[in-house]
Symmetry: C2
Subunit: 220 residues, 2 copies
Protein backbone atom coordinates (compact mmCIF):
# COMPACT_ATOMS: atom_id res chain seq x y z
CA UNK A 1 0.00 0.00 0.00
CA UNK A 2 1.25 3.46 -0.84
CA UNK A 3 1.14 6.52 1.33
CA UNK A 4 -2.51 7.61 1.52
CA UNK A 5 -2.95 11.31 0.78
CA UNK A 6 -6.36 12.98 0.99
CA UNK A 7 -6.61 16.27 -0.91
CA UNK A 8 -9.19 18.91 -0.01
CA UNK A 9 -9.49 22.69 -0.38
CA UNK A 10 -6.94 24.91 1.37
CA UNK A 11 -9.81 27.05 2.70
CA UNK A 12 -13.57 27.40 2.30
CA UNK A 13 -15.99 30.08 3.54
CA UNK A 14 -17.84 29.42 6.78
CA UNK A 15 -21.18 27.94 5.58
CA UNK A 16 -19.92 24.64 4.08
CA UNK A 17 -17.46 23.95 6.89
CA UNK A 18 -18.23 20.62 8.48
CA UNK A 19 -19.91 19.55 5.22
CA UNK A 20 -17.02 19.53 2.71
CA UNK A 21 -16.83 16.03 1.28
CA UNK A 22 -13.31 15.29 2.45
CA UNK A 23 -15.19 14.61 5.69
CA UNK A 24 -16.52 11.34 4.26
CA UNK A 25 -13.00 10.17 3.49
CA UNK A 26 -11.51 11.36 6.80
CA UNK A 27 -14.32 9.54 8.60
CA UNK A 28 -13.69 6.29 6.69
CA UNK A 29 -9.93 6.51 7.22
CA UNK A 30 -10.47 7.04 10.95
CA UNK A 31 -12.90 4.11 11.15
CA UNK A 32 -10.37 1.90 9.35
CA UNK A 33 -7.41 3.16 11.39
CA UNK A 34 -5.49 3.78 8.16
CA UNK A 35 -2.64 6.28 8.29
CA UNK A 36 -3.03 9.26 5.96
CA UNK A 37 -2.05 12.85 5.49
CA UNK A 38 -4.11 15.76 4.23
CA UNK A 39 -2.94 17.87 1.28
CA UNK A 40 -4.68 20.94 -0.10
CA UNK A 41 -5.58 22.53 -3.41
CA UNK A 42 -6.55 26.22 -3.80
CA UNK A 43 -10.26 26.94 -3.32
CA UNK A 44 -10.26 30.34 -4.94
CA UNK A 45 -8.17 29.65 -8.02
CA UNK A 46 -8.88 26.20 -9.45
CA UNK A 47 -5.88 25.35 -11.56
CA UNK A 48 -5.34 22.90 -14.42
CA UNK A 49 -3.53 20.56 -12.03
CA UNK A 50 -6.73 20.43 -9.97
CA UNK A 51 -8.98 19.58 -12.92
CA UNK A 52 -6.47 16.91 -13.95
CA UNK A 53 -7.10 15.16 -10.62
CA UNK A 54 -10.76 15.99 -10.18
CA UNK A 55 -12.46 16.88 -13.49
CA UNK A 56 -15.30 18.83 -11.84
CA UNK A 57 -12.93 21.08 -9.87
CA UNK A 58 -14.35 19.64 -6.66
CA UNK A 59 -12.79 17.86 -3.71
CA UNK A 60 -11.80 15.39 -2.37
CA UNK A 61 -9.47 13.01 -4.12
CA UNK A 62 -7.34 10.27 -2.63
CA UNK A 63 -3.86 9.32 -3.77
CA UNK A 64 -2.51 5.88 -2.98
CA UNK A 65 0.92 5.46 -4.55
CA UNK A 66 0.35 5.77 -8.29
CA UNK A 67 -3.45 5.47 -8.08
CA UNK A 68 -5.66 8.53 -7.64
CA UNK A 69 -9.40 8.23 -7.04
CA UNK A 70 -11.97 11.05 -7.04
CA UNK A 71 -15.70 10.92 -6.12
CA UNK A 72 -16.32 10.27 -2.45
CA UNK A 73 -18.36 7.15 -3.25
CA UNK A 74 -15.56 5.62 -5.32
CA UNK A 75 -12.96 6.54 -2.68
CA UNK A 76 -15.00 4.85 0.03
CA UNK A 77 -15.43 1.65 -1.98
CA UNK A 78 -11.70 1.75 -2.73
CA UNK A 79 -10.95 2.02 0.99
CA UNK A 80 -13.55 -0.67 1.65
CA UNK A 81 -11.34 -3.06 -0.31
CA UNK A 82 -8.51 -2.25 2.11
CA UNK A 83 -10.36 -2.58 5.40
CA UNK A 84 -12.95 -5.00 6.73
CA UNK A 85 -13.89 -2.24 9.20
CA UNK A 86 -15.55 -0.46 6.26
CA UNK A 87 -17.12 -3.27 4.22
CA UNK A 88 -18.42 -6.78 4.87
CA UNK A 89 -16.15 -9.34 3.21
CA UNK A 90 -18.79 -11.98 2.33
CA UNK A 91 -20.42 -11.71 -1.12
CA UNK A 92 -23.92 -11.02 0.16
CA UNK A 93 -22.75 -8.42 2.65
CA UNK A 94 -20.65 -6.72 -0.01
CA UNK A 95 -23.58 -6.65 -2.43
CA UNK A 96 -25.76 -5.10 0.30
CA UNK A 97 -23.15 -2.46 1.13
CA UNK A 98 -22.76 -1.65 -2.56
CA UNK A 99 -26.49 -1.24 -3.15
CA UNK A 100 -26.89 1.02 -0.11
CA UNK A 101 -23.89 3.13 -1.12
CA UNK A 102 -25.69 3.83 -4.39
CA UNK A 103 -29.02 4.23 -2.61
CA UNK A 104 -27.43 7.01 -0.52
CA UNK A 105 -25.69 8.75 -3.41
CA UNK A 106 -28.12 8.18 -6.28
CA UNK A 107 -31.62 7.59 -4.83
CA UNK A 108 -31.47 9.88 -1.77
CA UNK A 109 -28.84 12.57 -2.43
CA UNK A 110 -30.35 13.31 -5.84
CA UNK A 111 -33.37 14.61 -3.90
CA UNK A 112 -31.67 15.82 -0.73
CA UNK A 113 -28.95 17.93 -2.30
CA UNK A 114 -31.28 20.13 -4.41
CA UNK A 115 -33.66 20.30 -1.42
CA UNK A 116 -30.98 21.52 0.97
CA UNK A 117 -29.40 23.85 -1.60
CA UNK A 118 -32.79 25.51 -2.21
CA UNK A 119 -32.98 26.17 1.53
CA UNK A 120 -29.37 27.25 1.78
CA UNK A 121 -29.99 29.78 -1.02
CA UNK A 122 -33.08 31.08 0.79
CA UNK A 123 -35.44 30.62 -2.16
CA UNK A 124 -39.07 31.48 -1.32
CA UNK A 125 -40.14 27.86 -1.94
CA UNK A 126 -43.47 28.51 -3.64
CA UNK A 127 -42.32 27.51 -7.15
CA UNK A 128 -43.49 24.23 -8.71
CA UNK A 129 -39.82 23.16 -8.86
CA UNK A 130 -39.62 23.50 -5.06
CA UNK A 131 -42.79 21.44 -4.68
CA UNK A 132 -41.39 18.74 -6.94
CA UNK A 133 -38.16 18.49 -4.95
CA UNK A 134 -40.05 18.53 -1.62
CA UNK A 135 -42.17 15.60 -2.83
CA UNK A 136 -39.15 13.76 -4.26
CA UNK A 137 -37.29 13.97 -0.93
CA UNK A 138 -40.43 13.00 1.01
CA UNK A 139 -40.94 9.72 -0.85
CA UNK A 140 -37.29 8.85 -0.35
CA UNK A 141 -37.24 9.69 3.37
CA UNK A 142 -40.47 7.80 4.00
CA UNK A 143 -38.83 4.68 2.60
CA UNK A 144 -35.54 5.15 4.45
CA UNK A 145 -37.56 5.70 7.62
CA UNK A 146 -39.34 2.35 7.09
CA UNK A 147 -36.00 0.59 6.62
CA UNK A 148 -34.30 2.23 9.60
CA UNK A 149 -37.29 1.59 11.86
CA UNK A 150 -36.53 -2.13 11.62
CA UNK A 151 -32.74 -2.26 11.67
CA UNK A 152 -29.69 -0.57 13.05
CA UNK A 153 -27.42 -0.72 9.98
CA UNK A 154 -28.18 -0.66 6.27
CA UNK A 155 -25.97 -3.53 5.10
CA UNK A 156 -24.76 -6.84 6.46
CA UNK A 157 -26.02 -6.25 10.01
CA UNK A 158 -23.02 -4.05 10.82
CA UNK A 159 -21.50 -0.61 10.24
CA UNK A 160 -20.22 -0.06 6.70
CA UNK A 161 -19.42 2.75 4.27
CA UNK A 162 -23.09 2.57 3.28
CA UNK A 163 -24.06 3.92 6.72
CA UNK A 164 -21.30 6.50 6.61
CA UNK A 165 -22.55 7.84 3.27
CA UNK A 166 -26.26 7.68 4.15
CA UNK A 167 -25.57 9.57 7.37
CA UNK A 168 -23.58 12.24 5.55
CA UNK A 169 -26.34 12.54 2.94
CA UNK A 170 -28.92 13.02 5.73
CA UNK A 171 -26.83 15.63 7.60
CA UNK A 172 -27.69 18.61 5.33
CA UNK A 173 -31.37 17.61 5.45
CA UNK A 174 -31.23 17.62 9.24
CA UNK A 175 -29.39 20.97 9.17
CA UNK A 176 -32.52 22.49 7.60
CA UNK A 177 -34.96 20.60 9.89
CA UNK A 178 -35.97 18.18 7.16
CA UNK A 179 -35.91 15.09 9.39
CA UNK A 180 -38.49 16.33 11.90
CA UNK A 181 -41.09 13.79 10.75
CA UNK A 182 -38.61 10.90 10.59
CA UNK A 183 -37.60 9.76 14.08
CA UNK A 184 -35.80 6.59 12.92
CA UNK A 185 -33.69 8.68 10.52
CA UNK A 186 -32.88 11.14 13.31
CA UNK A 187 -31.91 8.38 15.72
CA UNK A 188 -29.77 6.70 13.04
CA UNK A 189 -28.04 9.97 12.24
CA UNK A 190 -27.35 10.65 15.93
CA UNK A 191 -25.94 7.14 16.29
CA UNK A 192 -23.65 7.53 13.30
CA UNK A 193 -22.43 11.03 14.08
CA UNK A 194 -21.84 9.95 17.68
CA UNK A 195 -19.10 7.58 16.54
CA UNK A 196 -15.61 8.65 17.63
CA UNK A 197 -14.32 8.42 14.04
CA UNK A 198 -16.97 10.90 12.83
CA UNK A 199 -16.26 13.28 15.69
CA UNK A 200 -12.54 13.25 14.98
CA UNK A 201 -13.03 13.68 11.21
CA UNK A 202 -15.47 16.56 11.76
CA UNK A 203 -13.24 18.28 14.31
CA UNK A 204 -10.21 17.87 12.06
CA UNK A 205 -11.98 19.46 9.09
CA UNK A 206 -13.11 22.43 11.19
CA UNK A 207 -9.64 22.78 12.73
CA UNK A 208 -7.90 22.73 9.35
CA UNK A 209 -10.16 25.45 7.94
CA UNK A 210 -9.77 27.50 11.13
CA UNK A 211 -6.00 27.21 10.78
CA UNK A 212 -6.37 28.42 7.19
CA UNK A 213 -8.25 31.51 8.46
CA UNK A 214 -5.38 32.25 10.83
CA UNK A 215 -2.79 31.79 8.12
CA UNK A 216 -4.75 34.25 5.95
CA UNK A 217 -5.06 36.74 8.78
CA UNK A 218 -1.34 36.43 9.46
CA UNK A 219 -0.58 36.95 5.79
CA UNK A 220 -2.89 40.01 5.57
Amino acid sequence: MGDLVLTTFDWVPAPPRGFVRDLRVRWALEEAGLAYRVATTPFEEREAVHFAQQPFGQVPWLTDGDITVFESGAILLYLGDKSAALMPTDPRGRAEAMEWVFAALNSVEMASLPWSMFRFMGFPGNAPEAGFVDGFLKVRLERIEAVLASREWLAGGRFSVADLLMADVLRPVDRFEGLAAYPACRAYLARLTGRPAFKKAHADQLADFAAADEARAGAG
Copy 2:
Protein backbone atom coordinates in the same frame (compact mmCIF):
# COMPACT_ATOMS: atom_id res chain seq x y z
CA MET B 1 -23.08 -18.35 -11.13
CA GLY B 2 -26.82 -18.54 -10.55
CA ASP B 3 -29.55 -17.88 -13.02
CA LEU B 4 -29.56 -14.11 -13.64
CA VAL B 5 -33.04 -12.61 -13.36
CA LEU B 6 -33.67 -8.91 -14.03
CA THR B 7 -36.91 -7.59 -12.53
CA THR B 8 -38.64 -4.51 -13.93
CA PHE B 9 -42.20 -3.15 -14.02
CA ASP B 10 -44.89 -5.19 -15.77
CA TRP B 11 -46.03 -2.01 -17.58
CA VAL B 12 -45.35 1.72 -17.52
CA PRO B 13 -47.14 4.62 -19.26
CA ALA B 14 -45.71 5.84 -22.54
CA PRO B 15 -43.47 8.78 -21.48
CA PRO B 16 -40.79 6.86 -19.51
CA ARG B 17 -40.58 4.01 -22.01
CA GLY B 18 -37.05 3.67 -23.28
CA PHE B 19 -35.83 5.35 -20.08
CA VAL B 20 -36.82 2.86 -17.35
CA ARG B 21 -33.65 1.89 -15.54
CA ASP B 22 -33.81 -1.80 -16.31
CA LEU B 23 -32.36 -0.55 -19.62
CA ARG B 24 -29.00 0.00 -17.94
CA VAL B 25 -28.92 -3.59 -16.76
CA ARG B 26 -30.20 -5.06 -20.02
CA TRP B 27 -27.52 -3.06 -21.85
CA ALA B 28 -24.75 -4.32 -19.55
CA LEU B 29 -25.95 -7.92 -19.79
CA GLU B 30 -26.00 -7.67 -23.58
CA GLU B 31 -22.50 -6.17 -23.65
CA ALA B 32 -21.25 -8.98 -21.43
CA GLY B 33 -23.11 -11.70 -23.32
CA LEU B 34 -24.50 -13.02 -20.04
CA ALA B 35 -27.69 -15.09 -20.21
CA TYR B 36 -30.61 -13.63 -18.26
CA ARG B 37 -34.36 -13.58 -18.11
CA VAL B 38 -36.69 -10.68 -17.36
CA ALA B 39 -39.27 -10.91 -14.58
CA THR B 40 -41.84 -8.27 -13.69
CA THR B 41 -43.39 -6.60 -10.67
CA PRO B 42 -46.67 -4.65 -10.77
CA PHE B 43 -46.28 -0.96 -11.64
CA GLU B 44 -49.69 0.13 -10.41
CA GLU B 45 -49.87 -1.72 -7.11
CA ARG B 46 -46.49 -1.79 -5.36
CA GLU B 47 -46.69 -4.66 -2.92
CA ALA B 48 -44.72 -5.51 0.23
CA VAL B 49 -42.79 -8.13 -1.72
CA HIS B 50 -41.60 -5.35 -4.03
CA PHE B 51 -40.41 -3.09 -1.19
CA ALA B 52 -38.63 -6.11 0.32
CA GLN B 53 -36.51 -6.35 -2.83
CA GLN B 54 -36.25 -2.65 -3.66
CA PRO B 55 -36.91 -0.44 -0.63
CA PHE B 56 -37.85 2.63 -2.71
CA GLY B 57 -40.49 0.75 -4.70
CA GLN B 58 -38.46 1.37 -7.85
CA VAL B 59 -36.93 -0.94 -10.45
CA PRO B 60 -34.73 -2.71 -11.41
CA TRP B 61 -33.27 -5.37 -9.22
CA LEU B 62 -31.11 -8.31 -10.22
CA THR B 63 -31.25 -11.77 -8.70
CA ASP B 64 -28.26 -14.08 -8.99
CA GLY B 65 -28.97 -17.28 -7.11
CA ASP B 66 -29.42 -16.25 -3.48
CA ILE B 67 -28.05 -12.73 -3.98
CA THR B 68 -30.33 -9.84 -4.93
CA VAL B 69 -28.95 -6.40 -5.80
CA PHE B 70 -30.92 -3.19 -6.31
CA GLU B 71 -29.70 0.25 -7.53
CA SER B 72 -28.59 0.26 -11.16
CA GLY B 73 -25.09 1.47 -10.18
CA ALA B 74 -24.59 -1.40 -7.74
CA ILE B 75 -25.96 -3.92 -10.23
CA LEU B 76 -23.55 -2.72 -12.90
CA LEU B 77 -20.54 -2.96 -10.58
CA TYR B 78 -21.74 -6.42 -9.54
CA LEU B 79 -21.89 -7.47 -13.19
CA GLY B 80 -18.54 -5.78 -13.76
CA ASP B 81 -17.03 -8.32 -11.36
CA LYS B 82 -18.40 -11.08 -13.60
CA SER B 83 -17.29 -9.78 -16.99
CA ALA B 84 -14.14 -8.08 -18.26
CA ALA B 85 -16.31 -6.72 -21.10
CA LEU B 86 -17.79 -4.33 -18.53
CA MET B 87 -14.84 -3.36 -16.32
CA PRO B 88 -11.08 -3.14 -16.67
CA THR B 89 -9.38 -5.81 -14.55
CA ASP B 90 -6.22 -3.91 -13.61
CA PRO B 91 -6.32 -1.89 -10.36
CA ARG B 92 -5.87 1.50 -12.00
CA GLY B 93 -8.49 0.81 -14.67
CA ARG B 94 -10.92 -0.45 -12.03
CA ALA B 95 -10.38 2.65 -9.90
CA GLU B 96 -11.02 4.85 -12.95
CA ALA B 97 -14.20 2.98 -13.86
CA MET B 98 -15.39 3.23 -10.28
CA GLU B 99 -14.79 6.98 -10.03
CA TRP B 100 -16.58 7.63 -13.33
CA VAL B 101 -19.52 5.45 -12.32
CA PHE B 102 -19.96 7.72 -9.30
CA ALA B 103 -19.27 10.81 -11.40
CA ALA B 104 -22.20 9.81 -13.63
CA LEU B 105 -24.60 8.93 -10.82
CA ASN B 106 -23.61 11.42 -8.12
CA SER B 107 -21.95 14.44 -9.78
CA VAL B 108 -23.92 14.58 -13.05
CA GLU B 109 -27.28 12.86 -12.48
CA MET B 110 -27.84 14.88 -9.30
CA ALA B 111 -28.10 17.90 -11.61
CA SER B 112 -29.47 16.27 -14.76
CA LEU B 113 -32.39 14.39 -13.21
CA PRO B 114 -34.03 17.44 -11.55
CA TRP B 115 -33.26 19.43 -14.72
CA SER B 116 -34.98 16.94 -17.02
CA MET B 117 -37.87 16.34 -14.60
CA PHE B 118 -38.56 20.10 -14.44
CA ARG B 119 -38.83 20.06 -18.24
CA PHE B 120 -40.86 16.87 -18.31
CA MET B 121 -43.32 18.44 -15.87
CA GLY B 122 -43.57 21.54 -18.05
CA PHE B 123 -42.70 23.99 -15.27
CA PRO B 124 -42.43 27.61 -16.50
CA GLY B 125 -38.73 27.73 -15.58
CA ASN B 126 -38.56 31.28 -14.23
CA ALA B 127 -38.23 30.31 -10.56
CA PRO B 128 -34.88 30.70 -8.77
CA GLU B 129 -34.91 26.94 -8.20
CA ALA B 130 -34.97 26.40 -11.97
CA GLY B 131 -32.09 28.84 -12.37
CA PHE B 132 -30.08 27.03 -9.73
CA VAL B 133 -30.58 23.65 -11.40
CA ASP B 134 -29.80 25.09 -14.85
CA GLY B 135 -26.52 26.46 -13.51
CA PHE B 136 -25.72 23.25 -11.65
CA LEU B 137 -26.16 21.16 -14.80
CA LYS B 138 -24.19 23.69 -16.87
CA VAL B 139 -21.07 23.50 -14.71
CA ARG B 140 -21.20 19.71 -14.81
CA LEU B 141 -21.72 19.48 -18.59
CA GLU B 142 -18.95 21.99 -19.27
CA ARG B 143 -16.53 19.76 -17.40
CA ILE B 144 -17.75 16.54 -19.02
CA GLU B 145 -17.45 18.25 -22.38
CA ALA B 146 -13.80 19.11 -21.64
CA VAL B 147 -13.08 15.50 -20.69
CA LEU B 148 -14.86 13.99 -23.69
CA ALA B 149 -13.23 16.43 -26.11
CA SER B 150 -9.92 14.72 -25.39
CA ARG B 151 -10.84 11.06 -25.11
CA GLU B 152 -13.19 8.44 -26.41
CA TRP B 153 -13.92 6.57 -23.18
CA LEU B 154 -14.10 7.71 -19.56
CA ALA B 155 -12.07 4.96 -17.90
CA GLY B 156 -9.13 2.76 -18.78
CA GLY B 157 -9.03 3.73 -22.46
CA ARG B 158 -11.90 1.37 -23.26
CA PHE B 159 -15.67 0.91 -22.94
CA SER B 160 -16.85 0.21 -19.39
CA VAL B 161 -19.96 0.46 -17.24
CA ALA B 162 -18.85 4.04 -16.54
CA ASP B 163 -19.58 4.96 -20.18
CA LEU B 164 -22.83 3.02 -20.13
CA LEU B 165 -24.04 4.95 -17.08
CA MET B 166 -22.78 8.35 -18.23
CA ALA B 167 -24.52 7.85 -21.57
CA ASP B 168 -27.77 6.86 -19.91
CA VAL B 169 -27.52 9.87 -17.59
CA LEU B 170 -27.02 12.16 -20.61
CA ARG B 171 -29.95 10.67 -22.58
CA PRO B 172 -32.74 12.53 -20.73
CA VAL B 173 -30.75 15.77 -21.06
CA ASP B 174 -30.48 15.22 -24.80
CA ARG B 175 -34.19 14.38 -24.94
CA PHE B 176 -34.92 17.96 -23.80
CA GLU B 177 -32.25 19.52 -26.07
CA GLY B 178 -29.86 20.14 -23.19
CA LEU B 179 -26.75 19.01 -25.04
CA ALA B 180 -27.01 21.54 -27.89
CA ALA B 181 -23.94 23.47 -26.67
CA TYR B 182 -21.89 20.33 -25.99
CA PRO B 183 -20.77 18.67 -29.23
CA ALA B 184 -18.35 16.22 -27.58
CA CYS B 185 -21.13 15.04 -25.26
CA ARG B 186 -23.48 14.62 -28.23
CA ALA B 187 -20.90 12.68 -30.24
CA TYR B 188 -20.13 10.48 -27.22
CA LEU B 189 -23.81 9.79 -26.64
CA ALA B 190 -24.34 8.90 -30.31
CA ARG B 191 -21.33 6.57 -30.17
CA LEU B 192 -22.60 4.81 -27.06
CA THR B 193 -26.23 4.50 -28.11
CA GLY B 194 -25.03 3.24 -31.51
CA ARG B 195 -23.65 0.11 -29.89
CA PRO B 196 -25.57 -3.07 -30.80
CA ALA B 197 -26.00 -3.96 -27.12
CA PHE B 198 -27.73 -0.63 -26.40
CA LYS B 199 -29.96 -0.98 -29.45
CA LYS B 200 -31.02 -4.47 -28.43
CA ALA B 201 -31.63 -3.47 -24.81
CA HIS B 202 -33.66 -0.43 -25.86
CA ALA B 203 -35.72 -2.38 -28.41
CA ASP B 204 -36.34 -5.14 -25.86
CA GLN B 205 -37.63 -2.69 -23.24
CA LEU B 206 -39.97 -1.05 -25.75
CA ALA B 207 -41.16 -4.44 -27.03
CA ASP B 208 -41.87 -5.73 -23.52
CA PHE B 209 -43.96 -2.70 -22.62
CA ALA B 210 -45.77 -2.87 -25.98
CA ALA B 211 -46.58 -6.52 -25.28
CA ALA B 212 -47.93 -5.45 -21.89
CA ASP B 213 -50.25 -2.97 -23.65
CA GLU B 214 -51.54 -5.77 -25.84
CA ALA B 215 -52.06 -8.08 -22.88
CA ARG B 216 -54.05 -5.31 -21.16
CA ALA B 217 -56.13 -4.66 -24.27
CA GLY B 218 -56.79 -8.38 -24.58
CA ALA B 219 -57.85 -8.56 -20.95
CA GLY B 220 -60.13 -5.54 -21.26
